[in-house]
C-alpha cells in the first residue's frame, strides 16, 4: 500500500518535472502576446510583467479597422474562415471516400494509392510551393482563392486518407457483411453504417485540415496577392514590411486570429473520444 503510494508520488513528480517546463515554455509566448495586446503603443516594449495602464484600445483599433494595415481586417478574416472551412470540407470528402473505398470496398489498386499518399510526404511541402505556384499559374488560378484551397486540400488529403483508412480498418468487417445481408447497397452502407461509426475520426481529421488551412502562411502568401483576397495570416506578415511596425496591433490581431482554432479545438474535443464502436462485436 505504502509502496504503491510512494510509487504514485514519484511517477507524478516525474510528470510534473516534465509538465511544468513544457507548460511554461508554451504559455510564455502567449502571455507575451497578450501583454502586447493590452498595452498602449508607447509602453508595449517596456519589459514589465503587467502593464501600468492596461487598455483594450488595441482591440478597438482592430475591430474597427482603424489602421492602415487593418483596412481589410474583416474581409481577410472572412477569407481565412471561408478557405479553412472549404479546405476542411473538401479534404474530409476526399479522404472519407478514399478510405471507404480502399478499406471497406477493397477496390483494386488501393494499396498503390496508399503508398502514393505516403510518398507525397517524402518531399517537404515548402519545396513544392514554387512548383505549385507554376501549376496554379498554368491553370489560371493565381490570385483566386481556389488556388489556395486546392493547394491546401492537396497537402492535407494524403495524411487524412491515411488516418481515416487506419480508423476504418478497425471497424469490424462483419458489420459490412451483416449490412450486405440485410440488403444494404454500398451507398447505404456508407451513409447508414460507415459514417455514423466514423464520426470521431471524421471530426479529428476535419479539424486537422481546417486548422492546417487556417494557419497556413507560405502558400497563402505565394498564391494570393490582392489585399482583399489574402488571409489574416498573410496580412499579419505584411505588418513587418514597415521599419516601424505597430507591434501592439500585430499581437492583438494575432491573438484574435488564434481564438477560432482554440474554440474549434475545445468544441470538438469531446467528439474525439474513442469507444463509439464498443458493443459491435465481441473483442
Amino acid at each position: 500500500m505504502k509502496r504503491s503510494f510512494l510509487k504514485t508520488v514519484t511517477t507524478e513528480a516525474k510528470l510534473l518535472l516534465i509538465g511544468i517546463p513544457v507548460l511554461v515554455w508554451t504559455l510564455v509566448p502567449i502571455y507575451h502576446m497578450f501583454l502586447f495586446a493590452i498595452s498602449a503603443r508607447d509602453s508595449a516594449t517596456s519589459g514589465r510583467l503587467w502593464p501600468q495602464e492596461p487598455t483594450l484600445q488595441n482591440f478597438d483599433f482592430v475591430f474597427h479597422q482603424k489602421h492602415f494595415y487593418l483596412d481589410h481586417f474583416w474581409i481577410q478574416m472572412g477569407n481565412s474562415l471561408l478557405i479553412a472551412l472549404t479546405v476542411g470540407f473538401l479534404t474530409l470528402l476526399i479522404a472519407t471516400c478514399a478510405a471507404f473505398a480502399i478499406s471497406r470496398l477493397k477496390v483494386r489498386g488501393g494499396r498503390t494509392v496508399m503508398n502514393l499518399a505516403l510518398f507525397t510526404y517524402f518531399i517537404p511541402a515548402a519545396f513544392l510551393a514554387v512548383p505549385m505556384y507554376k501549376t496554379m499559374g498554368l491553370y489560371g488560378l493565381l490570385n483566386s482563392q481556389w488556388a489556395l484551397i486546392l493547394a491546401m486540400v492537396t497537402i492535407a488529403s494524403p495524411y487524412c486518407i491515411w488516418v481515416l483508412k487506419q480508423a476504418s480498418d478497425k471497424l469490424p468487417y462483419e458489420l459490412d457483411e451483416a449490412a450486405r445481408m440485410d440488403g444494404a447497397s454500398p451507398m447505404q452502407l456508407f451513409f447508414m453504417v460507415y459514417l455514423p461509426l466514423m464520426v470521431p475520426s471524421l471530426v479529428a481529421v476535419g479539424t486537422y485540415s481546417l486548422l492546417l488551412a487556417w494557419n497556413e502562411y507560405l502558400y497563402a502568401f505565394l498564391l494570393l496577392s490582392n489585399d482583399k483576397s489574402v488571409t489574416v495570416a498573410v496580412a499579419l506578415g505584411n505588418f513587418l514590411s514597415a521599419d516601424d511596425s505597430p507591434w501592439e496591433l500585430l499581437m492583438t490581431t494575432g491573438l484574435i486570429y488564434a481564438m477560432p482554432p482554440a474554440a474549434i479545438y475545445y468544441t470538438f474535443k469531446r467528439y474525439m473520444v474513442s469507444g463509439l464502436t464498443s458493443g459491435a462485436v465481441k473483442s
Binding site: 450486405r180 445481408m181 440485410d182 440488403g183 444494404a184 455514423p196 458493443g279 459491435a280 462485436v281 465481441k282
Partner: protein
Amino acid sequence: MASVSFHNIKKSFGKTDIIHGISFDIRDGEFVVLVGPSGCGKSTLLRMLAGLEDITDGEIIIDNTPVNDLEAKDRDIAMVFQSYALYPHMTVRENMGFSLRLRKANAQLMQERVAHAARILNLESLLERYPRELSGGQRQRVAMGRAIVRDPKVFLFDEPLSNLDAKLRVAMRAEIKELHQRLKTTTVYVTHDQIEAMTMADRIVVMHDGIVEQIGTPLELFDIPGNLFVAQFIGSPAMNVVKGDFKAGTQAVAAQGVQWPVPASLARHAGRTVHYGIRPSDMTLSTTQQGVPAQVVVVEPTGAETELLLHVGGSPLTLVMHGRTSVQPGDTVHLDIDVSKVHLFDGQTEQRLD
C-alpha cells in the same frame, strides 16, 4: 422456408483449393449442422451460401433457383455472425428493423415484425438499449432477432455460440433448437464443437480438409461412422482406436501385445491390417479377471459417471463407466469389450469395414 442444394461446389483462394467439390441437399425445414475441425472449409461453404464469398465452381440452388449470380441481399437469407455484428450506433429496435428500413417497409409492418421477434426472443424490455449495454447472451439474441425479423427462406449461423461462456452456451443451444422447432425455417449451422452438432442437428455434415466425410443423423454418425476420421471426431470422449493385424483364422485383432475381440460378423475381413475402434462407454471393468488387461493411470469421477484413463501396452485408452469405482491409479484391471459395438476400419483407406 426452402430447400438448399450444393452441386459439386469448389472454392479456391488464389492457387489454394479450400473446398474440393461438395454435393449434398438440405430439405425444407431441416436443421443441418456443418461440423469439422478449423480450416476444414465449413465457414467458407456457409459464406458461399450466404453470398459473401464467390463460388469458384459448382452451383448452389435455393428453392429450385440457382443463386450463384445473385447478390447476398437478393438470396433471402439471414445470417447470425460469430461476433454478432450488431450496429453499435443503433438501438436494439433499430438493429432488428434495419433490413426492413432498407426495404422501405412501412412503419407499422416494421413495428409489428420487430415486436413479434422481440416477443419470441424475450427482448421486449431491451428494445431501446444499445448493443454496448447488453450482455453477451442478449447480444446473441438480438443478432438472432435481426434474422427472424426478415422471415427469410434460410437461417445461417456461423459459430454463434463460441463467444459465450460454457453455461450460457448450453442454454442458448436449447434456445436456438427450440426456436427452430417453432419457426421451422431451414437452418444451416456451422460449428467446430461436435457436442453442439450432436445436440442440435437433424442431420450433421462432417467436413475435413475441404471434403464431406459423412452425412447423417447424429446417432447414425455415432453408431455407424463411415471412416476413421468421423469415428474419432464424433463422440466425447473420443473413440479408442488401436492399429493391429486381424490374423486369418482368429476372432481377434492383435495390437499392443493384446488380443482385441472381434464379432463373428466381421470375420470375413480377417487377413488385413485394421484400425480397431471401441467407444469408451462400450467397455466395462471385468469382474472375472478375464479380458484385455489394462493399467489404471487416472481416475476422474464426475458424479454420475467415472472416466478412467488406462494404458494398454503403452497406448492410452479411455473408459467411461456409470456410477463409481474403487479402482486406484496403478491398479491392473481387465476390460470386458461389448463385441457388438466394435468398429473396424481398413488400415490403409481408413474406411469402415462392415
